[in-house]
Each structure stands twice: as C-alpha cells, then as structure tokens.
Amino acid sequence: MHDLNAVSEYAKFKASSAYVTALGTATDVHPDYRTEVAAEVGTDFSVTTNDLNWQRSRRRLFVANSDLLASDQGYVNVLSKFEEVSFSPDMSAFAVLDELRMPEEQIRRQIRKFWADSLLTYRERLSRRLEFLLDAMEEDGEVWSDDSPDSLRMLLRFLESVPDFRYPTVTITPSATFRAQWTAGSDRHFAIDFLPDGQVRLVVFCRDLRHSNRIKRYSGVTSWDSITRDVEPFDIRRWTTDAGR
C-alpha cells in the first residue's frame, strides 16, 4: 500500500483527495496549501500533520502525472496517475518537489509568497510587476532557465534586507535572470543582476563628489550579501532610499 506523503499542489491534492481519504494516510501536505486542503476535506492538517513528526524511514514521495485531472476520482484511477520519486532521507520532500517544478511555476509560487508574507511598503506594486514580467516573457516567446527561480529568490531576499530602499524597476536579462535597478538620472544609476549561486553583477553610475562635473562608473561581480558594503563608497543611498532624497 502506498503512503501519499507529500502533495506538490493543491490541484493535485484535490484530484487525489478520494485516494487520500480512502487510505487515511495523508501524512503531510505542503504548508502553503494546508488551509485550503483542510477546507476541502474537513481535516485540520495543522494539527494532524507536522513536518517534524514524519517517520523519515517511511517517507515516500509521489507526484501526479501530467494527465491527472481535477475531475479524476477514486483510488484506482488516481493511484495509476502518480509516480514515485526517490529522494535521499536527509532531504525535505518539499525541496525535491521544488526541483521538479517548472521554473515559471516556482516563480509564481515565490511571487504569491512574497505578496502574502513581505512587509515591504511596495510589496503589492512589486508583486504586480513580477506577475507582469511572467506574462511578458510568455508573450515575447522568452524562456525561463533553471537559474531563474534562484535569481528571483536572491532578489527578494536582498530587497527584504534593505527595507529602506525605494521600489526598484525589475527586468529580465536574456539569460533569464532578474535585474533590479534604481535610476534617477545619468549620474544616479544602480543596477543588480542576480546570478546563480548567490553571485550578483553590479553597475553603478554616480556623481564624482570631488569633481562634480564627472560621473564615476563601476561594474563588477560580488556576493548578494556583500552588495551594500561593496557599493558604500558610491553613496547610492542618496537616490535608492527616501531618506537620501
């Protein structure tokens, strides 16, 4: 008998709810979907399931095949449409599921989470811009890369670390990474491209304080958590934060 230990998406869970309830062994549901799932099947998953209480040796991960429909019902029908995915006991099933998701799906989930959890003042505006970029990429026939979700994750993490920064203009590079920029003229320009593995590529244009008729320009690669320290000499807070205006 199979245990359905993790369900990657609400839609998939919804389709398989008959299977889950028939077996009575749904030992976990993705935290993002617990509330909805509880409403659907009348179970309080926040009480009855807990990542920490998983019997690790018994964990098995099943993902739905692409032909699984929300209208599919019944144990036999649904079971045949799941495929077991092997993974190391020391890994989170959700990390495995994230790797299996398509990049655009991962990006959409990150945007939803950012919208729900962020305390940034421009959270709503930025979420809308990111959704717009998702649609624009599809409309322009551009393709996301496997690095795109990590790039967005680093971008959002950086923005959360500098809550006093103003709303950035976000765009997508031809490598399908996210690039944020704050521009207030040819002498006030700061751009960050979020590369894989926590690296970033920076560009800064700023007024030379010693020679006010000159513009200093800088570009380079650093780590995302070194950005603010590395650009400190350029006094970018003058135009990236409200306090500097």
Binding site: D140, T169, T171, I172, Q181, S186, V203, S219
Partner: protein, 143 residues
Amino acid sequence: MPGDRISETDHVSRHFGKSRCDDDGRPLGTAFLPRPNELYLSVNWLEHTGYSSRSEQLREVCTQLANGGMSVRASTRLAVLHLDSLFSHVRSNSLDMRELCAHHEPILPQNPSHSGIYGYTVDDHLIADLMAEAVEEVHKAHR
C-alpha cells in the same frame, strides 16, 4: 566573419518586448544585451530599407522582422540609435573606452536590413546601460 561595416552616420533600431522596458515603455539596459550564444546584438539598419522617413523605415523594419519570424505586436517597441552618437557615448563613458561597431548581417530573403552591433557580450551590463542612455527615439512596433 562579420558582414560589411555600416557607416556611423546611419541609424539602427532595436526591437524589444515588455520584459525589457520600464513602466513608461523606455528600454532598460537589458534590451541591449545580446543573448548568451550570440556574437552581436541584433538590430535593423534603417537607411538600408530605402525609405527616407522614419515612420516608413520603421514600418518596413517591422515587416521584415515579422517575415523573419519575430513576434511584432503593438506591445513591442523599437528603439532608434544613431551609430556615431552611440559609439562615442560608449567610448567616452565605459571603463575601458570600449569600441563598438556595426556590421550588416542580412538574413535573406526575409530580413535584409538585419545587422549586428559588435564589441560586447551578455556579461557587459555597463555597456548595455550606456546604450540605453543613448537611445534617441522609441516607437511602438506596428506593420
């Protein structure tokens, strides 16, 4: 092997989509980055179209782009660059006095005005940001 060099007195246009511009429709630096596997930035040589007015040149460019399989819609745009202004802006403001050049790279028969700007790669974001500064006109794409 690059094609014929284009005179710096001439103009080129760069076609870009919604993911490469700001909320006002102005192209950002990412609109001027070549793809990772490309040797040059794809542009269209406006004077090569044979028309004298800008609107006719751009209409012809849109037709050629569409014939070449590009998705040309009202939401996409064309940025016009004067080559001499562009090259001198990049040369005088880049850290290494970068020399760019433009060559005719026709794609026959669909896109005969297709050309390329050589001298930088997808990693040269500073160059791309300078190119965005040098844009002279932005037009909606239409046929």
